[in-house]
Amino acid sequence: MLAALRFTPGQLRGVLVLVAALILGAGITGMTAIIAKSAVIEETTSQSGRLSVAALSLYQALSQADATAASSYLTAGTPSDEMNETYREAMRDATVALATAAGEVKTPADTALVAELNARMPVYTGLVETARTFNRLGEPVGATYQEQASTLMREEMLPKAHDLQENSLGQLNDSRAEAAAFPWVAAGLAVAALGTLVWAQMWLSRKTNRVFNLGLVGSTVLLVGFAGWLATASLASASHTNTSHEDGSAPLELLAEAEITAQQARAEESLLLIARGEDQAAADRFEEHFKALTDPGKLLDRLDEAFADDAELSANIDTAREAAETWRAGHDEVVKLAQSGQYTDAVVLVVGEGGGEDAPSLWTSFTTLNNALTEATDVSAERFAEATNDAQRSLSGAAAGLAALALGALISAAVGIQLRVAEYYA
């Protein structure tokens, strides 16, 4: 075997084996890398994507339900149709999201979180309905049930929903990093194969005094095509994946956080009145949430920054900021009214319909704020989906194409070398 390499035909065959091995290696690793990438991107739009969307909407729906349940308690047993509808929709969204999440969880920790949340759902709704019934009967103990429901939500359910969301986003980010990774092994093998081909041609032209070997030239061209396609497809998909993160999921997370913070502030505001102005802790928590929303450098500012070059989205954030300012001023008025014993006026200001645009109630301000954030969320979600589709499209056909090119290069090289070998036996 080694002896054969001392003669030119043997050396030629040796070169062929080496080139074939490198091309095969590059082809197979390149193809599998692209297929794996596709699968991972597929997963971000399906499994872990669906889980994080479900976890996010669960978190939002729960906090929306809490805010509305607390507000509607203040309407003395006769909440407006709009409030009733909002609460029922939020509970439906929460249960649907929980069921979806239950089908998508992969880790024991997430399974446990979903189970814990599921176990608390009926307890929460039970407390809310008991509160409403006592409220209708005119029994003040209803207020305590409503507070207990909110405590369960605030101290147990929302933190668990948040954990689930964090976990799913973590998994999504891992997948994203994987999808954006460059296929170094395939690229390395392709470069090595190219190098070997070029060297083989120089060696052959010295040996045979012929400048070109058509087979090897063809193989080189095909392999250059292979390397180019591999690089472009990988880089393009990575860039789209990053776009989907920057334009889509990152602002989505920020928007959701803002929405949930506003809803929590709203819940605390209602609790303050449910406790008849005797719950300083609720007042403190309201301040905390509001600061997290509107303080310089906090959520609204960060959203402004994220959407700086997007007129549509920044208009939504401007609306949200305006509504937050009106709400804030109204809230201070409510606290003043409640502390000076004008309880009825305070309640009307918090949950009433308001007097149109000039004199919005806190309920209308809060709803405006919430709706503006929801609209921005819808736009962001669309962009996320678009970018993910682009990432997938840039990979479409790449696996098959790369396989064809590698195969072509292999055959071309084999034919080229085999023709030379044949000359020695002619």
Partner: protein
Amino acid sequence: MIRNQLRLAAAAAACLVLAACSQPADMGPPQVDVPTPLPSGIDFSPEIETEPVDESCTPLASYNPGTTSVEQAIAGLDNQDQITIGVSQSTNLMGYIDPETNTPAGFDIDIATAIAHSILGPDATIRWVPMTSGEREEAVNSDRVDMVVRTMTMNCKRWANVEFSAEYFHAGQRLLVPTASGITGLADLADDHRVCTGDGSTSVRTIAEQSAAQAVTVPDFNDCLVLLQQGTVDAITSDDTILAGMAAQDPTLEVVGEAFSQEPYGMAFQKGNTDLARYVNGALAQIIANGTWQTAYNKWLEGPLGVPGVPPTPQYRD
């Protein structure tokens, strides 16, 4: 035997080769504790105060109305056109917001209204200021309110910080239990019974000293009623007025046993504002004499407490 070992070895080798022998995820149902909703700040083993009770004064003795005029009383108000009164808005039957009308109502409210009318006339502007029991002494002394009428027990410790009126209601600590529980008094409480009460109240100490039961405290005593309805605690102890307000909301509960503490309620004023205290004492004697007191008692407390009301006899120190 050897064949088995070979099989094991082969299996292990296969595992290494496949590197896919990660344990299948534990797919058994997750362990979830039964969710028990609890109020924030609940304490299942509160510390019991042991400091001796201050008995250096006669807590019931207030100021003799004498000839104090209504002008002197009005001069003692923070704003002469209105009277601000600190009340509870969450103590059913005593001072609470009626959920149907969203206005303050209750025995304390009726007494306070009668006093306000006596000072500023029947068209008096009354501002009700809701407050927790912890805020009461600070509120009268910081001019947040002119007076506090909020189930406030007169004792020597509080006399050091505020002026009290004469006693306007005589309450006592009792027990609220489910009728079906068979508990009829302190003696029936065993060490596996949990008894709920508000934290920072004197009720914690009394129940701990006088019964075997385990005290449980919550920041707001209203949480006790929910905990009793949910079966988390076996009984509630507090002033009978407060317990009556809870019993009125649930026909399966009843107030039982003899009172095991004395809780004389007084109205509180800023320390040093004795003119207002004196005038209010005169007004109190009047509303007791003219039947206003009796009407308020019959309206709010007679049914739930189950005993006819006897107005307290005012005691004066001078």
